[in-house]
């Protein structure tokens, strides 16, 4: 192989990362890079200036990407934002705002929302010292206190945040005495865990490295015009889809038929494809599993192997040299070569990072020009490891430090071997290394000294990159760089044979999906907001291809968002890079806007995600009322009479027959409230569907809804009366958990109320319940990382792995192969037994999904 005959001069400094955190501006200037080295000047100087492709530009066809596939049926919620995590209070003495995690607000939300969980164990412990009913204790021992009066003083509502609320002396005394005990136990137990969780969420929000490498891949088909997109779909991203797409030279990409899919047992994080020696392979990484498929010429995947990674997999790469060979990295710091024939071979293991200490367990591995040499990367650097050499040896390829003039806080986010292209392209020894500030091209033959550095300045983490073959012979190669926020940059790289790699022209940015907003019709604010959020959804995968047969090179670019949307854009290489070449502004075509409208219509039909958090309702009236009801009930009329006689106010509880099970008006609209649902539907632009639904319901069997409606109206009119009426029937949607929960449950009538509720809630395994509720709570708060289900899945997976510790399949120890479950494939008939067996098996997966999508039920609270 040729080595560049003369390298760009650089100073070689060794040492740690730069101390300055001021961005290094010296790699922002592309014009100096595009100039060739002076030794080639004499040849060029004859015809004046050297040839420079200044007009090198890939022109987008439309101002933004267009949807390729209709939106998925699962609702999507943008999840956690900085607003949910950060403290909003002011620091008057700080010169600049700073990120401070707001644990107190989350903790107080938890206490309000799940006071039963927070305080019940203590309450249970103290139960024998309190008396909830009856007269004052007659015993000499002063260990039992009656709190009946205290509960009465509370009167059904707690004065939350109301400074004028009446506080009785009893209440005041009790809170002063009990406050430290109650508050401390909860805060000390929960506070630490909560802080840890919030910190993880915040870090995830800043950088979610799970999708490093990208979860979208293009598998070329038999002709250049047809191929398959492989990507995860479904709310939990656990359905691996194979969508055939045709790329016509003149028109937009067309999805051919419905996608085939394979149901997996965890969220798909990375999809890699490669065609080696005519064999197309597909590797998929989930959190704790990796799997390998072989894609036949007809485009059907056949499973080869599944690997379980105990500590969690962080990266997977397919060898460009040997068919079926993979490199897998684990959080434990191990890197393994994996072939279906020979199984796992641990190549490298070091829980420590390479250059300096960094807490991130992220590891990455890729191949090099030598099939037995791998690169192993972490946040601090990249090392080359000989798989056949003695363990522990290796050569640093990239060092986060002065050698590459890294700046303070700079970390490696992605490394990629670029040597898979055709021979007349760049040297097959180049590696791309991306940090949050710059990208580096490093030649493995000259370690530590980057051949090229470019300050990409992307406003989000660059987690995927793709080097494409030259669109025409002799043209520079496009290198796509994608950020998590959907930002795309395209660099033009050149440098074959004896010349060093360099930029062939100024890099360009490509439209991101949020630029497509203008193609959609204007909507009412709520839908507009929803659309906007959807278009802003983080990108999790990128795939691009240049069909070679087209006369004019066209770059088709596909982007997958975490909401499951696949968008595409087409870019044309500007035909004649003349002197007046300037970016012309593309405009929307009627077809494009029609496509967007169709997609939007389908999107608005998808029900919006259930609110992740709703304000809790505070009431213990139910409990107290029931308690007193039994006592008071027989003397209802008497009480009335007594009240009349005494001339005092008739209180609700005096009327035994009119119990007060109705909770106070909640901020969330109940499903019975037809007016508000109708208004809501109208607000969302779905009045038509609502009406249809309504029509369908009323014309259905029975006149149930009508009657119910009337009853609802009544119930709202006479809220105090309707409490006893059992409104909750089986068909009531899970929107009104309050009404459904306590009354609907059958209960033995003789149990004393306090104990009854205690048993009902707490006779079961309290710790596990608490854990689950805490987990539910965390999942429900607007704290979710990527998908509503994304949280519960890893949890369930962890437990599944914990449950089977005897399996010898953890990555560092060994391998075991189980064929991946194949559910449905395009063209393949699905036997129902197969389907059902799969439906039945992943109980650990489905249960959390269900619980995740259902609004949670509030539980009756203890009297405290």
């Amino acid at each position: 192989m040729d080595f560049p005959s003369s390298l760009r001069p650089t100073l070689f400094r060794t040492g740690p990362l730069g101390l300055s955190n001021v961005p290094d501006m010296s790699f922002m200037c592309s014009w100096r890079d595009t100039l060739t080295l002076p030794e080639s000047l004499p040849k060029n100087s004859e015809n004046g200036a050297p040839h420079l492709s200044t007009g090198l530009l890939w022109e987008p066809e439309t101002p933004g990407p267009l949807p390729l596939l209709p939106p998925g049926p699962d609702p999507w919620d943008p999840g956690v934002t900085a607003q949910d995590l950060l403290f909003r209070g002011g620091f008057p003495f700080r010169r600049k705002p700073q990120a401070v995690l707001d644990v107190t607000e989350q903790l107080s939300r938890f206490l309000w929302d799940h006071g039963d969980i927070a305080f019940a164990p203590l309450g249970k412990l103290m139960l024998e010292n309190f008396k909830l009913e009856g007269a004052r204790s007659r015993s000499k021992k002063k260990t039992v206190v009656s709190v009946k009066r205290l509960l009465q003083d509370l009167g059904g509502h707690q004065p939350w945040g109301c400074p004028w609320a009446f506080l009785s002396f009893r209440q005041r005394r009790f809170s002063i005495l009990g406050g430290p005990v109650l508050g401390k136990s909860v805060a000390s137990l929960l506070g630490e865990l909560l802080y840890e969780e919030l910190a993880t969420r915040w870090e995830q929000l800043l950088l979610d490295d799970a999708f490093t490498g990208g979860a979208l891949a293009w598998v070329p088909g038999r002709t250049a015009q047809v191929g398959q997109l492989v990507y995860p779909a479904g709310g939990a991203l656990d359905k691996l889809c194979f969508q055939e797409v045709s790329l016509t030279p003149g028109g937009d990409p067309q999805a051919l038929g419905d996608p085939g899919h394979i149901q997996l047992q965890g969220p798909v994080r990375q999809v890699v494809t490669r065609t080696v020696q005519g064999e197309s392979l597909l590797a998929v990484r989930s959190d704790y599993h990796c799997a390998l498929w072989k894609v036949s010429k007809q485009g059907r995947p056949a499973p080869l192997q599944v690997l379980q990674v105990g500590k969690g997999a962080t990266g997977i790469s397919l060898s460009p040299h040997l068919p079926g060979e993979l490199a897998v990295c684990s959080r434990s710091g191990a890197v393994c070569l994996w072939t279906p024939q020979d199984g796992l071979q641990q190549v490298y293991k070091d829980p420590e990072t390479l250059v300096f200490c960094d807490p991130s367990p992220w590891r990455w591995a890729d191949f090099t020009a030598h099939p037995r040499v791998l690169t192993v990367g972490d946040r601090t650097g990249v090392k080359m490891i000989d798989a056949q050499g003695p363990p522990g040896c290796g050569l640093l390829l990239f060092r986060g430090g002065a050698e590459a003039s890294c700046q303070k806080g700079e970390r490696v986010l992605l490394t990629q071997y670029l040597g898979e292209c055709s021979p007349e392209s760049l040297h097959p020894t180049l590696h791309l290394i991306c940090t949050q500030f710059s990208l580096y091209l490093v030649d493995e033959r000259l370690p530590l000294v980057p051949m090229l550095k470019w300050n990409h300045d992307l406003p989000s983490a660059p987690l995927w990159a793709q080097l494409l073959p030259p669109p025409r012979p002799g043209c520079p190669q496009p290198l796509l760089l994608g950020g998590q926020g959907g930002h795309l940059q395209l660099l033009h790289l050149t440098g074959e044979g004896a010349s060093a790699p360099r930029l062939a022209g100024p890099p360009q940015s490509l439209p991101s999906s949020s630029d497509s907003l203008s193609a959609f019709p204007l909507l009412e604010p709520k839908s507009q907001w929803r659309l906007q959020e959807r278009l802003k959804a983080p990108t999790i995968g990128l795939a691009a291809t240049i069909p070679s047969s087209a006369s004019e090179p066209v770059l088709s670019l596909f982007q997958l968002s975490v909401a499951g949307d696949v968008f595409y854009q087409r870019l044309h290489l500007q035909a004649d890079p003349g002197p007046n070449s300037c970016a012309s502004t593309a405009s929307w075509t009627p077809q494009a806007t029609a496509c967007c409208s169709r997609w939007l219509k389908a999107l608005l039909k998808v029900p919006p995600a259930p609110p992740v958090w709703a304000a809790p309702t505070f009431s213990h009236r139910r409990l107290l009322g029931r308690m007193e009801q039994r006592e008071v009930e027989p003397k209802g009329p008497e009480a009335l009479r007594a009240a009349m006689a005494e001339g005092r106010l008739l209180r609700q509880r005096d009327l035994g027959s009119l119990p007060s099970a109705e909770p106070p008006p909640t901020p969330e609209p109940g499903p019975e409230d037809e007016l508000s649902t109708r208004l809501e539907a109208a607000w969302e632009g779905q009045l038509a569907t609502w009406w249809e639904r309504q029509q369908g319901r009323s014309s259905g069997p029975g006149r149930q809804p009508k009657r119910r409606k009337r009853r609802t109206q009544l119930s709202s009119t006479f809220s105090s009366l309707s409490g006893r009426l059992d409104l909750s029937d089986a068909t009531s949607p899970p929107h009104s958990p309050d009404r459904a929960s306590p009354e609907a449950r059958p209960r033995p009538p003789v149990t004393p109320p306090s104990q009854e509720s205690t048993q009902e809630l707490w006779a079961r395994d309290v710790p596990s319940e608490r854990q689950q509720t805490l987990r539910d709570y965390m999942a429900r708060l607007p704290l979710q990382g990527d998908t509503p289900q994304g949280v519960s899945l890893p949890l369930s997976q962890t437990s599944s792995i914990r449950a089977t510790p005897s399996r010898p399949q953890t990555l560092p120890d060994g391998t075991a192969e189980l064929p991946p479950r194949r559910k449905t494939l395009r063209g393949a008939t699905v036997s129902s037994s197969q389907t059902s067996s799969i439906r039945a098996t992943p109980s650990r997966q489905q249960a959390p999904v269900l619980s995740g999508s259902q609004p949670h039920r509030k539980k009756p609270r203890m009297g405290f």
Binding site: L37, R94, P371, S460
Partner: protein, 417 residues
């Protein structure tokens, strides 16, 4: 009083630095952190209006540049000059460099820009801030050089010839490339060049020119010393070119074979895939020493390990020939030693049926050489050899027959096994 105000300024800038670092608990900095914080209404002092405006303007310029909207970028740049009036001294000092970098970028690509415009801009920028004078002059010279205006570039730079050694530590490509052209015909500068190339770094163009100059003046010893230092100084990165230059120099000098081998041995350790390795093999083959013969085999195997060399017909030809030669010389152990680490991956890397078909289709001569090697290493049962030997080609019939014969004779695979 003056001390006090200085103190104030210093503490202020230090403060600024501390606050502009946006870290998480891991020590990693996130350029997008500020954006997240911005969505939450936190207290604290907001940036001044002017600072907000200028940073927005900078953003617009960068965006326009990335969209190749040169005219728009120029318009924004026009406004950005106001930052030179910023009351924040720290920002005011940093501004000229940003303006020069973005401005030169715009003017380089702007369709209506000309050399004159660039000259005017560069001349104006040179006079803003002393620190930038040299840098801009040198980059300006580079620009002129690339527009074939050697004279102008020379005039532009001549003033700074004396000061350039101050610059030797500055890592700046423009300086390096520009200066090289200026200096390589000037004996006076040799001292300075010498100082430069003794600083750890990659100085390929300078070393080349400097050695050329020394050779021109007949200073062979000096040239050798420079090249030897450049190649063997441990403070330098392991630059393959350093060894290549030394090797080429020694070859020109008609140095003894032993010397050449010792230079290439090191290159072999750094870049076993380099095209000089075939030359290295030839040297080793011609050598009298037995361990050189052994190394000759190792080198050939080493070249063919690399993905970029799999279709190198010369390498395959050498290997086929040398394998036969080695086996005839009763050195089966050498072959076995090399084969031991490769037998589990060379068959699928080189000798799969896919490659048999594709090589035969693309390059029959290559296919024949590979078939011979495959036959010797894997026996006649191997797929690659079988496929090629079955081919019925009029021209190559004789050759294939020969291959079959040599495989039968030399195959390292024990047919009994």
């Amino acid at each position: 009083m003056s001390d006090f105000s200085e103190e104030l300024i210093r503490s202020k800038t230090e403060d600024d630095k501390e606050e502009s670092c946006v870290f998480s608990g891991t020590g990693m900095s996130f350029p997008w952190l500020q954006k997240h914080i911005g969505t939450v209404e936190t207290g604290g002092k907001k940036e001044k209006d002017f600072a907000q405006t200028t940073s927005a303007c900078l953003g617009f310029i960068q965006e326009a540049l990335l969209k190749h909207q040169w005219q728009q970028a120029a318009d924004y740049m026009h406004s950005y000059f106001q930052i030179l009036e910023d009351s924040d001294s720290h920002k005011r000092q940093a501004a000229p460099e940003i303006i020069w970098k973005l401005g030169s970028e715009i003017l380089f690509y702007h369709p209506k820009s000309s050399v004159e415009t660039f000259n005017t801009f560069a001349d104006r920028m040179k006079n803003i801030g002393v620190m930038n004078y040299l840098k801009i002059s040198l980059q300006h010279a580079l620009y002129l050089l690339h527009h074939g205006m050697l004279e102008d570039a020379n005039r532009n730079l001549s003033f700074h010839l004396r000061t350039f050694s101050l610059w030797a530590d500055e890592d700046d490509y423009a300086y390096n490339t520009a200066s090289q052209n200026m200096f390589d015909h000037s004996w006076k500068t040799s001292v300075n060049l010498r100082a430069l190339i003794q600083t750890p770094g990659v100085w390929d163009p300078f070393v080349k020119s400097y050695v050329e100059m020394l050779e021109f003046y007949g200073d062979q010893d000096g040239a050798r010393e420079v090249l030897t230092n450049y190649a063997y100084d441990e403070k330098f990165p392991s630059n393959p070119n350093a060894h290549i230059y030394l090797y080429n120099f020694l070859k020109r000098e008609k140095a003894p074979r032993e010397k050449l081998i010792s230079v290439l041995k090191i290159l072999y350790q750094i870049v076993p895939s380099h095209k000089l390795m075939l030359e290295f093999h030839r040297l080793l083959r011609k050598s009298e020493k037995e361990d050189h013969h052994k190394l000759g085999l190792e080198v050939l195997f080493g070249v063919l390990d690399f993905a970029g060399c799999t279709k190198n017909i010369t390498a395959w030809k050498y290997l086929a020939k040398y394998l036969r030669q080695t086996l005839m010389g009763n050195h089966l152990a050498w072959v076995q030693e090399e084969w031991k680490t490769r037998k589990n991956w060379w068959p699928s890397f080189h000798f799969s049926s896919f490659w048999a078909k594709s090589d035969w289709k693309e390059d029959k001569a290559l296919a024949c050489e590979k078939a011979l090697v495959a036959g010797i290493l894997l026996g006649k049962g191997c797929r690659y050899f079988r496929f090629i030997s079955k081919q019925d080609d009029q021209v190559l019939r004789k050759k294939i027959k020969q291959i079959k014969k040599s495989v039968k004779k030399h195959s390292v695979v024990n047919p009994g096994l």
